[in-house]
């Protein structure tokens, strides 16, 4: 710490010279002695220094590098992986439609499961091209409108371009059609064998999924250039701000609320009655793998890990460390990662079907939800504040 008097004196002296550059020069020449930087992480770490002089120099944070890493090593590979999962899904749908056997159904279902897991890796990238077409709503809205699905198939009449069909298509419509509760695999394949409309409907769902990801990936190719160049500020509408806002919003509303909170009944009026039918993949009877994957992907992204190799790159986490953001006496990045881990552990200890677990093991589900809730201020308040995303909206004088 530079002593107040020491600095003040120098400031006043050079103040008369009226040029800050001279001031800067003078100050750097006449640093107080026997002090130095005591932070081992700093570039100018002085092992012999006893007292910290607050003059630690750090590597500049490479914001362009952050955006390049996120784009090249996470966003593009994850979109590509999701596209290939949907392509395979689409071909499995073709196989099943042409030949609706039990084994083709099982094979299709396995690919549907895989594609939905991969969807969790990209769902929170809900800005830019993905946001233009409301990809999240188009891809995985739940619960689905089973009446609309049934009547559309019955009438042979549907249009997936209408927003009214957002809850009658996508992965959750496939859940309803491929995993219908109370029906055996043979009965389900039989239903398809006897209904041309059903075949067309399911085929349209997979084509729709494919069209959306094709559009988004195409658009990203041009969008990513601007994205990586937009590193000068974190103001509203900048790349960092878009990433952080999309991620926080997705976690808060689709993961915490949608995947656990709503079925648990947390948002269901005063009585907070459980609403088990609101779980993701209600008919399939497995919801937890998707919830765990969603939490995990967001964590990977924040840490800047490579999508394919999991190698640690420049991430939002490093940015938090760069600004030395703290939480309860530890680094915010550590606190955030611990919270992610706790949530994953909590969710792993639950048993599917989640719709059942909510009723029979409510205490543990509630506990998991509480921990998911705790992550919200960590990313929405602490992380955004650390990244300087919040301070920039309209004119501001910082209060």
């Amino acid at each position: 710490m530079i002593s107040g008097a020491c600095l003040l004196k120098k400031m006043k002296k050079s103040y008369l010279l009226n040029t800050p550059l001279v001031l800067l020069f003078l100050l750097s020449l006449t640093a107080c002695q026997k002090r130095g930087c005591t932070d081992p992480n700093a570039l100018n770490y002085d092992a012999s220094a006893v007292k910290d002089d607050d003059n630690c120099e750090y590597e500049q944070f490479d914001k362009q590098g952050l955006l390049q890493n996120l784009n090249n090593n996470y966003i593009i590979p994850s979109y590509t992986a999701y596209k290939s999962a949907v392509l395979t899904l689409d071909s499995k749908v073709d196989d099943f439609v042409q030949n609706p056997t039990d084994s083709n159904l099982i094979s299709l279902r396995a690919q549907w499961h895989e594609a939905l897991l991969t969807w969790q890796d990209v769902a929170f990238l809900n800005f830019g091209p993905s946001d233009y077409i409301l990809m999240v709503s188009q891809t995985n809205t739940f619960p689905v409108d089973t009446m609309l699905i049934d009547s559309s198939i019955n009438d042979g009449n549907w249009n997936f371009d209408y927003t009214s069909y957002y809850d009658a298509k996508g992965f959750q419509a496939l859940d309803y059609l491929l995993n219908k509760k109370g029906k055996s695999d043979t009965e389900i394949s039989q239903d398809f064998a006897t209904s041309e409309n059903k075949k067309l409907y399911i085929k349209d769902i997979s084509s729709d999924l494919l069209n959306n990801i094709n559009y988004v990936l195409d658009e990203w190719t041009s969008y990513s250039t601007d994205f990586m160049e937009d590193y000068e500020s974190n103001a509203d509408g900048s790349a960092v701000s878009n990433v952080v806002n999309a991620l926080c919003k997705h976690y808060e509303f689709y993961v915490r609320r949608g995947k656990v909170g709503l079925p648990l009944g947390v948002f269901n009026g005063f009585s907070q009655q459980e609403m088990p039918h609101l779980v993701e993949c209600y008919h399939y009877g497995q919801s937890l793998p998707f919830a765990i994957r969603a939490v995990h992907s967001i964590q990977q992204f924040i840490n800047g890990n490579s999508y394919s190799t999991n190698e640690d790159g420049i991430g939002l986490e490093d940015y938090m460390d760069f600004v030395n953001a703290q939480y309860n006496g530890e680094n915010l990045s550590i606190a955030t990662n611990n919270q992610f881990q706790l949530i994953k552990d909590n969710l792993s200890q639950l048993n599917d079907p989640l719709s059942n677990e909510i009723l029979t093991n409510k205490v543990n589900v509630s506990n998991a939800y509480e921990n998911m809730q705790q992550l919200v201020p960590l990313i929405k308040v602490d992380m955004t504040s650390a990244l300087g995303v919040l301070i920039t909206y309209q004119d501001n004088d910082g209060d």
Binding site: I2, G4, L7, L8, M11, K12, Y15, N18, P20, L23, L24, L27, D54, N55, E57, Y58, Q60, F61, K63, Q64, Y231, S233, N234, A235, V266, F267, N268, G269, F270, S271, Q273, M275, F322, V323, N324, A325, Q326, Y327, G329, L332, A335, P377, L378, V381, D382, T384, S385, A386, L387, G388, L390, I391, T392, Y393, Q394, D395, N396, D397, G398, D399
Partner: protein, 462 residues
Amino acid sequence: MTEIKKWATHFFSNQVSIYPLVTFRIIFGLMMCYSTLRFINKGWVTDLYVTPKFYFTYYGFDWVKPLNEEGMYFLFYLMVALSIFIAFGLFYRFSAISFFIIFTYVELIDKTNYLNHYYFVSLISFLLVFLPANKYFSLDSYFKICKSHLQVPAWSINSIKLQIIIVYVFAGIAKLNSHWLLDAQPLINWLKHQSDIPIIGGLLTYDFTAYLFSWGGALFDLFIIFFLIHKKTRIAAYGLIILFHVLTAIMFPIGVFPLVMIFSTLIFFSSHFHQSIVQLISKITLKSRSTVIHHFPQYVNSSFLYKILFGIYFTLQLLLPVRYLLYPGKLFWTEQGYRFSWRVMLIEKAGYSQFYVHEAKEDRKLAIDNRVYLTKQQIKMMSTQPDMILQYAQYLSEEYKDSTFIESNGEVISLGKEPKITAKVEVSLFNQGSKPFIDKNVNLTKEKRGFNHKSWILPYEN
């Protein structure tokens, strides 16, 4: 006694040249015209005064309500016109009064939008109402709507100077706190996001730079005005003013504030300087070869009433920034007595709030989604400011009173006259980690609004 009298005469009733006041009037009018057009152009009239469902009024000003969309736009365009009238000195007194009233009315609608520079504009336009700024080089004097004067009493220029002195000095005093001086907060955080600014960007990531800017900023605010008053150091001081405000404009999204301060401080220059500006303007615009100096009568208005009025005004100006001392607790945490005190860029605060409506019988609660009632900006501001938290809670109580809910299990729940509202709020100050901000069990419906200490704010623990 005679010394005091001499001093008072010097600063109050002495006759001085009107030129500084004339350029101030023109510059202020043009700046207000620009900033109002900018405000309209950015779509903020709709965003801030049409879109919201609920407005955070100031205590005692709950009767202030926005007009409809057409009405609000009309007012803003009216302000554009009035500011041009002020610049040209046409129907000056009427224009100044109208501008002050409309501008202040708009500011009073929602404290979400409070900015120190808006407050400054309100105060200056209030002062302008009383100043004889149209007595020369104005359309009023040209059309002989008012009498022309070349000399005005000293108080008319000194009151603007005094107001500007108050802004800088109090802004400087506000910086004399341990966060600003010892930890270089919040600049140490903010500058780190600015490392990509050309040329100086590289310097901004050093902790050292944050300390330099913090200490430099505090010293600048505290002392710059005295160098500006002093004739010998004036040019250099004004150079520093330009440098300082341009730097802040590059680094922070503070809108027209730097512009306002750079131009307002011109008032400290000599009357000769201002005379040459006026002559320059008249040369360019009126193409007249030289301004003919007539012998105008002296403008005398140093009435007792004015003295009293200005006495009260400036006493208030001196007291408002220190009223926070009457409240217990940490100012930056509770923000009790924070506004109207020239605290600029002092804190970095972010919050998260979850409100609940309770039913009386079993005290079960319903979670509120803030986005249903508030805009993004309102949520952001409300989540860190206790008076706004209380206002929003009482608005929710009002919204939910006497309402009936049919639950998914068929149970019917009726809320009474004053439904209990609680809130769980987490706030992070200076990136030190979010912490509980208010007592999450307190029924906010029952808490009184006003200037009393809010005991339900939890103490700040570092």
